[in-house]
């Protein structure tokens, strides 16, 4: 038997089937490779979601110590939404504002690294990721120092009268949105960079050769070509930002609490599992709905 006979070619799909003696093993191999990981994801990702859905329909009068009865209490959903509508809508509002801010900052950053940085490209890219090496919580606490009432940022803003003499940033919605923007900005920049990096510079030159203004070049060439990265980046930013509660907790007050704060306390403080599960599920459904509408409008074919 020649050695060439069982050379797997292409992307694993043998052009000519391997010898029959081996084909049994070949057919089973991918499943064996996949089994442990897929089982893990099924057991600890998919199954828990089913359990969460079940928990959201438990009798709301049960307690953790006495146990919950399954009563298909669909009323948990409207009840939870009614009580926590302010926090629920605030999550999407804050994440939305933070997303707009992040786009305004992230697009120029991604563009500069991809198209203008030349040989500094890799170093600048490391600079985008590097802040994430320090713990998320430690960085968010650092914002507490930066935005504190006697810090230089607040002092400067008071001096130029952008803030009143006893105006403050910490414990306001501004601080929470700023924190959200900061914490998830790299998730927006990286996919955006990836698609801007593939952008052929000659297309931009061609556009300006044809007398397009820089603005028009951006609108008609750069922006459409960076759409896949823009869509991926937007989702990678928006999904965790909506579910975040660390920024609201550390930089805000209960007046800025987002739905995450409520879910956290439902599960860990009030031990009201049916309500916490209902809110968790509502959050996920709402995010999925937003993502779905967004992808329909932005065009899915580039992403999925």
């Amino acid at each position: 038997m020649s050695a060439l006979a069982h050379v797997p070619t292409g992307s694993g799909q043998p052009a000519s089937p391997p010898p029959t003696a081996r084909s049994g093993r070949y057919r089973l191999l991918p499943y064996l490779l996949l089994l442990p990981g897929a089982a893990w994801l099924f057991l600890f990702f998919a199954l828990p979601l089913v359990q969460l859905a079940a928990a959201s329909l438990y009798d709301p009068n049960g307690t953790l110590s006495t146990g919950y009865a399954m009563t298909w209490a669909f009323g948990n959903y409207p009840a939870a939404l009614q009580t926590y509508w302010p926090q629920f809508s605030r999550s999407f509002l804050y994440a939305g504002i933070a997303l707009v801010l992040a786009l305004l900052m992230g697009y120029p950053l991604a563009y500069a690294i991809a198209q203008k940085a030349g040989r500094w490209k890799n170093l600048l890219l490391v600079c985008v990721i590097a802040p994430m090496f320090t713990s998320f919580l430690v960085r968010t606490l650092a914002w507490k120092t930066i935005l504190s009432d006697n810090g230089w940022v607040v002092g400067l803003l008071r001096d130029v009268h952008l803030l009143g003499p006893d105006g403050r940033l910490l414990a306001t919605p501004i601080a929470v949105v700023l924190g959200l923007t900061y914490n998830f900005l790299p998730f927006l920049v990286l996919p955006l960079y990836a698609s801007l990096e593939r952008l052929d510079h000659r297309l931009l030159e061609a556009s300006s050769d044809l007398y397009a203004s820089p603005l028009k070049t951006f609108r008609r060439v750069t922006l459409p070509l960076s759409m896949p990265g823009l869509i991926a980046g937007t989702l990678l930013f928006f999904i965790p930002a909506t579910g975040d509660y660390i920024n609201a907790e550390l930089l805000g007050t209960p007046n800025q609490y987002m739905i995450g704060n409520v879910i956290d306390s439902a599960f860990l403080v009030r031990l009201d599992y049916p309500q916490g599960a209902a809110l968790s599920f509502l959050l996920m459904s709402a995010i999925l709905a937003v993502v779905f509408v967004y992808l329909r409008r932005a065009g899915t074919e580039e992403v999925l």
Binding site: L4, L41, L52, T134, L137, L141
Partner: protein
């Protein structure tokens, strides 16, 4: 002055980019500065007085160091498990066509698109329903789960970009399948696997939300910081933050430097002779 102005007019995108990078680094600078701070009181976040004490004795608050050690242990176990499982999956997905492939791709993609909050609460609901005691091992299970997808994606990217002809050449030269894998495939995929492992470790080490729901009374470093935020943050927390930043940055810069040297060495090989020999 006008020259500076003209430079900015031409390079304003770069200027904005630098400002944004400044925004990204501002908290790091503050964490670094606060690591040398002697705070005026427990609940103060302001810079009060310079001192080296925090660096000299980072374990002054011993429960913090316990938490760091626990985070490293969890991160290590979760990284090894997630990297092993994820690498196998990546090989199957890139190298084989089989039934249920697209469904599996969805199963791998979903954890990355699900809010951490939902993953954390759903796992808690499952553990409670199954009466599983929360602690070290439930944290490990959760971490392997959310790191797995990232490992698969990272290794997959490396595998997809690999030149299959190198393996075919090895087998043409009568290398067995195992030899080909050991000598050709593995070394070529290894950078992807290492990158995936580093990513998994940093994800695990830094995770708060999922850990918070599945830890019971076990305290990891992020959970320690969270608890301390209410009681007053010891300045040693900033030492850990700064040290983590420095170690990770050194690792990345070293690998970048190595990559550059390797590329230079590759260019230095006299090309004509190398081709004539084949």
């Amino acid at each position: 002055m006008s020259r500076v102005f003209r430079w900015f007019a031409r390079h304003w995108v770069m200027g904005v980019a630098m400002l944004v990078l400044g925004y990204l680094f501002l908290p790091i600078a503050v964490v670094g500065a606060l690591s040398f701070n002697r705070p005026s009181n427990r609940l103060s976040y302001d810079f009060h007085e310079f001192t080296l004490d925090n660096w000299r004795n980072p374990c002054a608050t011993s429960d913090m160091c316990d938490a760091v050690v626990r985070s490293v242990q969890i991160g290590f176990i979760a990284t090894v498990a997630a990297t092993a499982l994820g690498t196998l999956m990546a090989f199957a997905l890139v190298r084989h066509r089989f039934r249920g492939r697209s469904g599996l791709n969805v199963l791998i993609f979903l954890p990355m698109a699900t809010p951490e909050l939902v993953m954390g609460t759903s796992l808690l609901a499952l553990f409670v329903a199954g009466a599983v005691p929360l602690g070290f091992w439930t944290i490990v299970i959760a971490h392997v789960m959310f790191c797995l997808s990232f490992v698969v994606v990272t290794v997959k990217a490396r595998l997809t970009g690999m030149d299959r002809r190198l393996e075919e050449a090895a087998m043409d030269l009568y290398a067995s399948e195992w030899q080909t894998f050991r000598r050709i495939t593995l070394p070529l995929v290894l950078p992807g696997i290492v990158a995936a492992a580093l990513l998994a470790f940093s994800l695990s080490f830094d995770d708060f939300i999922i850990t918070n729901f599945n830890s019971g009374t076990t305290v990891t470093f992020p959970m320690y910081v969270w608890g301390a935020a209410q009681r007053g943050i010891p300045p040693q927390v900033n030492v850990i933050g700064t040290a983590m930043f420095a170690i990770a940055l050194l690792l990345v810069l070293a690998s970048m430097l190595r990559g550059r040297r390797a590329r230079r060495a590759a260019i230095a090989v006299p090309v004509p002779r190398a081709t004539s020999r084949s």
